[in-house]
């Protein structure tokens, strides 16, 4: 969604939280007071500009709100939630969000791991190419979305033209990437995959450099072939790194907004309307902030639950079993 997300370093959480390094100095009251003083501005900022808006957002979900400024608001209890769960739009958008996230994260993982292994196999001489490979990470999602829309556009998209010239397609308009409701959800995922596979590659590449050589040598001597080494040694050893990369990307893919908005605006026939687009529309275009807030709150709670479950189940910070 935003660049920072793509560059997230959730792993740091682990470093800071689970760090077993013993404190050397004395933790006197002066230290505590100074620490508190240093943290206060950041805490106040996040409380004012994240926590407070979020609280208002959740609070709004219990009201019927007219989109016109100054109009009355009525407390309706859980009615907005009932409406949200009863609405087809909400249910199908949830399914689409899950499908989109799985496609993006799955593709990025497979491609990202393959390329990380390729870079590792080629060793130090591939360093220059690693840099080149990283460049999409710096491009704005809006630009990436528009660029791919241009590449995939029906009548003059270069992708279909090249596929046609290569003999793969029978005609340049055989595949309607962004206007066929059956495949549009997968097509809009392409720029996201293009944009952030490098993130997974970089993280996994760095992890691969830390795999102890003797384990792999020993497996080789025992006659293990590459696929066996990959699935029985490399992937299990990389598990914490893979978990961090997938959780970070999963959260961002589930929040994807601009990259989809810019390509299809949720269409055709609503086939790419994920939750973030549905909430945005309900809020702005359909003028029902109460309902939008209820949908957003459900979405937020589910995201938190899934992320926390993923962190504790897969990542297991601080576990010695790594």
């Amino acid at each position: 969604m935003d660049t920072s997300s793509r560059h997230a370093v959730a792993g740091t959480a682990h470093t800071v939280l689970a760090s077993g390094r013993p404190r050397t100095g004395r933790k006197d009251r002066g230290d505590r007071r100074f620490a508190l003083l240093l943290m206060t501005p950041a805490v106040l900022f996040l409380a004012t500009f994240v926590l407070w808006p979020l609280a208002r957002f959740i609070y709004d979900s219990f009201f019927e709100i007219s989109p016109f400024a100054g109009a009355p608001r009525t407390f309706v209890g859980l009615a907005n939630y009932a409406d949200a769960f009863a609405s087809d739009a909400f249910r199908s958008a949830s399914v689409r969000t899950v499908a989109y996230t799985l496609v993006v994260v799955g593709m990025e993982f497979v491609l990202g791991l393959a390329i990380a292994l390729l870079f590792t196999a080629l060793g130090q001489r591939s360093a220059v190419f690693r840099t080149v490979f990283m460049y999409p990470l710096m491009i704005a999602p809006v630009v990436a979305g528009l660029l791919w829309r241009f590449l995939l556009i029906d009548n003059f998209g270069i992708v279909n033209q090249l596929l046609f010239e290569a003999g793969i397609l029978a005609s340049p308009d055989q595949v309607q990437w962004l206007s066929d409701p059956g495949i549009a959800l997968f097509s809009v995922a392409i720029p996201d995959i293009w944009l952030t596979t490098s993130f997974i590659t970089l993280v996994l590449f760095a992890g691969l450099q830390n795999i102890p050589g003797d384990v792999i040598e020993a497996a080789r001597i025992d006659g293990a072939r590459y696929p066996r080494i990959l699935f029985s040694i490399i992937i299990p050893l990389l598990r914490p790194v893979i978990a961090v990369a997938l959780i970070v990307r999963g959260i961002d893919a589930a929040r994807a907004f601009d990259i989809i908005l810019i390509q299809t605006d949720g269409g055709p026939q609503g086939s790419t309307t994920t939750l973030s687009l549905l909430i945005y529309r309900t809020m702005t275009r359909f003028g029902d902030p109460g309902l939008a807030s209820a949908m957003g709150t459900v979405y937020l709670v589910v995201m938190l639950a899934v992320a926390i479950a993923a962190i504790t189940l897969i990542w297991r910070p601080g576990s010695s079993a790594r």
Binding site: H14, L118, N155, Q161, G207
Partner: protein, 278 residues
């Protein structure tokens, strides 16, 4: 040498695979650049061609002369610079406190900052519209910079925390024994040691603001509009001006891509830090 490194003849195959991957990965942006140098009608020709018939700067001239485009570029720079400064000023002391003193409140704060990453942008963005109106900073670069800092601050705290983590506690303590006050130990002794980390954090905070779209869409209208919103509007506002869109997208992306290439070593450190360290 990494034991996973391949030797012998199969290396040739792997190099070919890498070349194919790089070409596929590089093509979209190369095509964007090539299109931006085409004549405007050439850019939307049917069937499309990869290479321009004639090279021209027409798209660049017309895109940059469009109403609002120069202002949007300036707005993007101002917003990103203000947001980066704000993020660093808030994040550096907080991260220092978290890693150096390890108080329980610090741990709670670290978790809270992680949680803000999971919040859908719209859930913060929509109420922020009214909060910014209340503060009188609607449609100003400063207001937008405040909003962008909500994204970059948690990230900056994480990054700075891992850089501070690498500095031994003993250094700051020794400085205090030598007569430095706590703030002096931080500013004069520890901070210079993480100057590389500061640069990385600044780059990521800058990029977070530079590329951000939804807050910019919600919080600005005319005066403070940033370039991503203008690029997005290129379509509806001016019809099918793909040539102009590619030119503006190139102008907007090339500086940050060059930045990446020059600072790549630092950026890779920032990207992978923590994820593999644990």
């Amino acid at each position: 040498m990494n034991p996973l490194e391949t030797r012998g003849r199969s290396r040739v195959v792997l190099w070919l695979l890498l070349a194919a991957a790089i070409i596929l990965y590089g093509f979209p942006f190369i095509y964007l650049l090539l299109t931006s140098f085409k004549a405007p009608l050439d850019a939307i020709a049917v069937p499309p061609s990869v290479f321009p018939e004639v090279l021209t700067l027409e798209n660049y001239v017309s895109a940059l002369a469009r109403e609002g485009v120069p202002a949007a570029l300036i707005n993007s720079v101002v917003t990103a610079v203000v947001s980066t400064a704000l993020s660093l000023v808030l994040a550096v002391p907080a991260a220092y406190a978290i890693t150096r003193f390890r108080t329980p409140s610090g741990r709670v704060f670290v978790v809270a900052a992680l949680v803000t990453r999971m919040v859908p942008t719209i859930a913060v963005g929509a109420p922020l519209v009214e909060i910014m109106r209340g503060l009188g900073v609607t449609d100003t670069s400063f207001g937008l910079a405040l909003a962008h800092t909500t994204i970059s601050l948690p990230l900056s705290i994480w990054l700075m925390a891992s850089f501070f983590e690498a500095v031994p506690d003993e250094l700051g303590e020794a400085a205090q024994i030598d007569g430095c006050s706590r703030p002096q130990a931080m500013v004069r002794v520890v901070l210079p040691l993480v100057s590389g980390g500061l640069a990385v954090t600044a780059i990521f905070a800058f990029l977070a603001s530079w590329n951000e779209f939804l807050f910019a869409l919600l919080l600005t209208s005319v005066r403070a509009q940033t370039t991503p919103v203008v690029i997005a509007n290129f379509q509806s506002q001016f019809g099918l001006d793909w040539g102009g869109m590619t030119a503006l997208a190139a102008v907007y992306s090339i500086p940050v891509i060059l930045l990446t290439l020059f600072l790549q070593r630092h950026i890779v450190a920032g990207l992978t830090l923590g994820a593999v360290k644990g």
